[in-house]
């Protein structure tokens, strides 16, 4: 889906005055999950979590400690960067920490929330960023899991996010497990999953989607759930002011 059709095709009216995109839907959903969080870590290639943490601090939880790879604690980026390791993420930081020390925080159990992602996510909330093998050789090499093998089992609440929701992404069982652990929610462009009793259950379906769309695009069984609350006018206004260029749509283009 290209960027133009994403904004036009999935832009939706709220009441009679407001449009929002799938990126907006995911961002506000993730931001609201941070209302009671002490700290939140985002890593490489974490465009939507960047906006979620920024929005949460603006609207819901100003005391949330923002941790990121350039090591700026609670930065005040003046505009959204195209890479989430940009030194903009250290602008006006309140204190410094190195990436290695953030991993140590995770090892000590001090990380409250982390945002992670996978190419494949299975019904146990395990995910694969490693590869697809064929016999002894690697058939398809993915990016590697970055910090996720450590961060996933050692962070109190992990929010997985994926800008695709289809049967290739949401599988019954990952052939290779890059990371597993304390999955709190999985947020996609059409739904939210929750992990209970060791497996993922559908928690809510976004207002513009349907249970049928989710079921058709998920490779494991799902049951009907509630509707995800739509973005509010305040949330969208803040996002538009901070991101007039639509950097938050990058993951949805191409």
């Amino acid at each position: 889906m290209n960027r133009a059709s994403c904004i036009i095709g999935s832009g939706l009216k709220v009441g009679i005055t407001m449009e929002y995109s799938r990126a907006d839907m995911m961002i506000v959903t993730m931001a609201r999950l941070l209302k009671d969080a002490e700290n939140a870590f985002m890593g490489v290639a974490s465009n939507l979590p960047f906006f979620a943490i920024w929005l949460a601090k603006k609207l819901y939880n100003p005391d949330l400690t923002w941790l990121n790879i350039p090591g700026g604690i609670d930065p005040s980026p003046s505009s959204p960067p195209r890479t989430t390791v940009h030194f903009e993420l250290a602008r006006a930081k309140k204190a410094s920490i190195t990436l290695a020390e953030i991993f140590d925080m995770s090892a000590r159990g001090e990380l409250d929330v982390a945002f992670l992602s996978g190419v494949q996510i299975d019904k146990y909330g395990n995910f694969n960023l490693s590869h697809i093998a064929e016999g002894n050789r690697i058939k398809i090499q993915f990016t590697g899991g970055a910090g996720s093998a450590l961060v996933c089992p050692n962070t109190k609440r992990v929010i997985l996010w994926r800008t695709r929701h289809d049967k290739r992404s949401f599988v019954e069982k990952c052939p290779v497990i890059t990371a597993s652990g304390n999955i709190y929610r999985v947020v996609t462009p059409i739904a939210v999953f929750k992990k209970e009793n060791g497996i993922l259950f559908l928690d809510s379906v976004h207002p513009y989607s349907s249970f049928q769309e989710v079921e058709e695009n998920t490779g494991f069984p799902v049951s009907p759930a509630t509707v995800t609350p739509a973005p509010t006018a305040d949330e969208i206004k803040l996002l538009n002011q901070f991101d007039p260029e639509g950097i938050r749509e990058i993951e949805f283009s191409g």
Partner: protein, 262 residues
């Protein structure tokens, strides 16, 4: 002792088959010009390591310089996509990708830096990476602990903002794992935006994190991180990254390596 060399001389210190820890992270303060020079000189069989890479490891894969990559993440981010030559090299069996978590790369380097044979690490859940490591009984408590072996880079290759002629160097902004690499490696090669006086380095106080005594060579390479960023001097260049990613064959790569030189 004057360690100042040209970038060609500095790169010629690296022998085929050696292990290099390459500084910076993704497109941030990476020794790009030096990596291009390694490729231009036709190095072979190198083993490279860092937490998260893109341009450097993708280019070295493309140029056929690598035997092994140890890393947690190899990819450009959303703006540019995946690292095509890294992927192709691994899928075609030409480069061995020793998959790590960023944390295990750090832990292996820390063990070397701390002068100990292995490093106990935290639990990694059900990650397949666990199968790569051994466990020991916790001698001071209960249960088994995962341990990773020390990895000893022959070289730490770092791009820094300022260095003096003896290799004492300052890093501004995030250091990433550059300091851990400098401690773990046998020797260090620096490229720097500017060679400055010892007094100027001295004035930076605690920012002078690289002492010169393990530095074998310092090359002055302004814009040496491009197409990557070098805080606070310049941001990464989208055009130059896209120019690199548009190279599709070995002849075009050879031209690129000859043309894009300091």
């Amino acid at each position: 002792m004057n360690k100042v060399k040209t970038i060609e001389e500095a790169a010629s210190l690296v022998s085929d088959g050696e292990r290099l820890a390459i500084g910076g992270l993704l497109l941030q303060r990476i020794p790009s010009a030096f990596v291009r020079e390694l490729a231009r000189q036709g190095k072979k069989g190198l083993k490279v390591m860092k937490t998260a890479a893109n341009y450097d490891f993708d280019l070295l894969s493309f140029a056929g310089c690598l035997e092994e990559i140890q890393a947690g993440f190899v990819s450009f981010e959303a703006e540019f996509g995946l690292a095509p030559n890294f992927r192709r090299s691994v899928e075609e069996g030409r480069v061995h990708f020793e998959e790590n978590s960023c944390y295990t790369v750090i832990s292996k380097l820390r063990a070397a830096a701390y002068g100990v044979p292995f490093m106990p690490i935290a639990n990694l859940g059900e990650s397949h990476i666990v199968d790569k490591f051994k466990t020991v009984n916790n001698p001071y408590g209960q249960g088994e602990v995962l341990v990773v072996p020390a990895i000893y880079p022959d070289w730490a290759v770092l791009h820094v903002q300022k260095a003096d002629k003896k290799g004492n160097a300052v890093i501004y902004g995030p250091v990433y794992e550059d300091v851990i690499m400098a401690r773990a490696a046998s020797k260090i090669i620096l490229t720097t935006e500017k060679i400055v006086s010892s007094e100027e380095i001295s004035h930076e106080g605690d920012l002078a994190v690289i002492p010169g005594f393990k530095v074998a060579a310092v090359a002055e390479v302004p814009k040496g991180a491009l197409p990557g960023a070098c805080y606070p001097y310049y941001d990464y260049s989208s055009e130059q990254v896209k120019e690199y990613l548009s190279i599709k064959d070995n002849n075009a790569l050879k031209s690129y390596l000859e043309e894009v030189r300091p």
